[in-house]
């Protein structure tokens, strides 16, 4: 690798300019060679199947009745987009996304502040905070499902104003609460670490200066700290929002989509893997993909997130 910057054997007869462009060409070629494997692996599993999904979504094709396959044009899209179930799952998904990201942001920020300030037991706290991050989502789902269970859990006993045999999974709202709790528990630590990194970037001098000017803690937070963390916060929101929009594991484990808790991902999965409706499932896959694009685009435009800058990229 080192040879690219130390061209020991470069022919000396050439002119400097030619040498430089020669080297640029070589560097260009080497760069492409080095990124090619990554690019191929990433695109092989995403772009190619996505194109296939686009093609499959135009036919009526169920694996259980392969002989009845037929080309139907945009019919699957029309069916999906006019189906109340699709819009209901979309609403549920967006609701989960907004609620979980909001709580993760608030709690995560508090955690980040504490971790930023804490001087004792740093190791223990950072170790603990990585456990929810590392734990399998399915395990988190099970843990909370059993915790909320009326027959074997403890939540009902611990919460005031909740009857001991209250069934959290009997109705849409409490079931969604349980799902959100599991999701928030698992991902808040990740959020708090991202915010902690942002917090570390805020210059202490500026905070100190504001303090000298007589700003209260609250004012310092809103006028100095938060604006200076903007990039970090926006990146955290973008990533968590898109992650939350794809929610699947917790729903699969905790309710299996019962009592109207299906997300768009879950609906898509069920069409493809349980119903074997490859045609309709592919249409939903494409719609899901488009939704993610729209949300990503929306967040980037709305909050004017500059990803390149946030990443330190020129």
């Amino acid at each position: 690798m080192s040879t690219t910057t130390a061209p020991a054997g470069a022919p000396a007869s050439r002119k400097d300019k030619a040498k430089a462009s020669d080297r640029a060409v070589a560097e260009n070629r080497l760069g492409l060679k080095l990124v090619l494997p990554a690019l191929v692996v990433m695109l092989f599993v995403t772009a190619f199947p996505m194109l296939q999904a686009l093609w499959l979504s135009l036919s009526n094709y169920a694996l259980t009745a392969p002989d009845d396959r037929s080309f139907v044009g945009a019919q699957n899209y029309v069916t999906a987009l006019t189906d109340p179930l699709f819009w209901r799952t979309m609403l549920v998904t967006v609701a989960i996304m907004v609620v979980t990201v909001f709580f993760e942001l608030v709690i995560g920020f508090v955690f980040a502040l504490v971790m930023h300030r804490v001087i004792f037991a740093r190791g223990i706290i950072r170790t603990s905070i990585l456990i929810p991050y590392g734990i399998i989502t399915v395990v988190s789902g099970f843990a909370w499902q059993f915790a909320f269970s009326g027959t074997n859990g403890f939540v009902n006993a611990w919460l005031p104003f909740v009857e001991d045999n209250f069934n959290w999974f009997g109705e849409q709202f409490p079931a969604l609460v349980a799902i959100c709790v599991s999701e928030i528990w698992k991902t808040t630590p990740f959020m708090s670490l991202l915010l902690l990194a942002g917090l570390a970037q805020v210059s202490e001098d500026m905070v100190e200066a504001a303090k000298v000017d007589g700003a209260t803690w609250w004012q310092r937070l809103w006028r100095v700290i938060l604006p200076n963390m903007r990039a970090a916060i926006m990146v955290a929101i973008l990533f968590r929002a898109l992650d939350a929009f794809r929610i699947f594991d917790n729903i699969f484990v905790m309710t299996n989509g019962a009592v109207n808790t299906e997300s768009v991902s879950f609906l898509t999965y069920r069409q493809v893997i349980e119903q074997f409706q490859i045609g309709m499932g592919s249409a939903l896959s494409v719609l899901l993909f488009l939704s993610v694009l729209i949300i990503a685009f929306g967040i980037v435009k709305l909050f004017r997130v500059d990803l390149a800058q946030a990443r330190g990229e020129g």
Partner: protein, 437 residues
Amino acid sequence: MRGPRRGLWRPLGVAATIVLAASTLSACSESGKPTLNWYINPDGQDTLTSLAEQCSTDEYDIAIQLLPTGATDQRTQLARRLAANDSTTDLMSLDPVFVPEFANADWLLEFEGDAADAVVDDDVLAGPADTVQWEDKIYAAPQWANTQVLWYRESLAEAAGISDALQEGTATWSQVIDAAAQNDGTVGVQADRYEAYMVWINALVQGAGGDIVSDTEAGVDAQVDIDSDAGRAAAEVVAQLAGSPAAQSDLSVSREGTSLGAMFPDGGAGEFMTNWTFVYKNYEPNDTNGFTDEQFADLAWARYPRTVEGEESKPPVGGIDIGVGAYTEHPEYALEAAQCVTTPEAQLALAVNDGLMPARSSVYEEQELVDAYDPTLLTLFRESIEDGGPRPKSAFYNQISGSVQSTWHPPADVDPERTPERSANFIRDVLGGKALL
């Protein structure tokens, strides 16, 4: 350039070798003697494992592969393998409701000639025999039959004064629910959004003399009948239970196992519970389960309750059929093995050890089985299987069942006036590809 490059590429080569080795690992097990894979559902694992050993011969071995617990998950796992034209799916334990779908997709090998005669003869009960046939061909071998009865506490029934009606088999759901509600008892059913909820709804509709769908050979053009008096009668039962104090608190997520604990609770009078045949062995006192002889003596059983007065109940039937994968490399062996694991001896072992009732009439006479069960219970099981109502026999059963589950869940939202109509429209739309499921 050379040095560092080699250094970087070497690990790649190593990794590629590892991947290759891993991918060929699974194929390595093939020695001379072929192994047939038998995908079983988890009921009666130990007996099925020894059956697999007994039915292995000098020419082939049978290896057990375990499927997940739920009927829908089992179907998904098998169907995915078969859709992938998997040649290692040789034998499979199939819930009868999925035989038409699998047969229609050409995933099952047909039993012909002698094989067909052997697996479906006069000895096989009519209900199970019907489940393995699709378009007048035989696609599986009945292995065991399941049915639901009403399990209850004798003390509770006596306190409520409905013992006689229960024993005559004339008690209705409405009576049972009221009896439980008025005597501090509960009613256990399966009403989570899964296959057994469909089992309950189907039994209720058929018990009122109706059907969820009919003319199922027409595939997606089947006639949808649930929007009828029978459908409304079924919805009334569900709604009555959901609104009654007799409903268990976890009604909307109740499964076969969840209501077992409510039979002998710490406080309260116990329950009436519709459930499969395995329940008897569950409460039979042994070292680990902690049930007492007094409790066991209080356990009683009766025919599945009626949906409406004056109309005989149609108890749910289920069980397992053994199918042979269409892409197996050893069709003769697999067909032979399928017969071997469904012989009367095999069925007797499953019944005695695991409480999985025989699909063959003659096995009910076996002394060993009579000794293991209360004779009245055996008679009840057999009658229930014979009089039972099957679920719709359609290649699109999964869609029908899913549509019903979706529109009837949660039970608390079932409205006799609207639910049957809504579910009828939904089934039609789903079958017609006009609605998402």
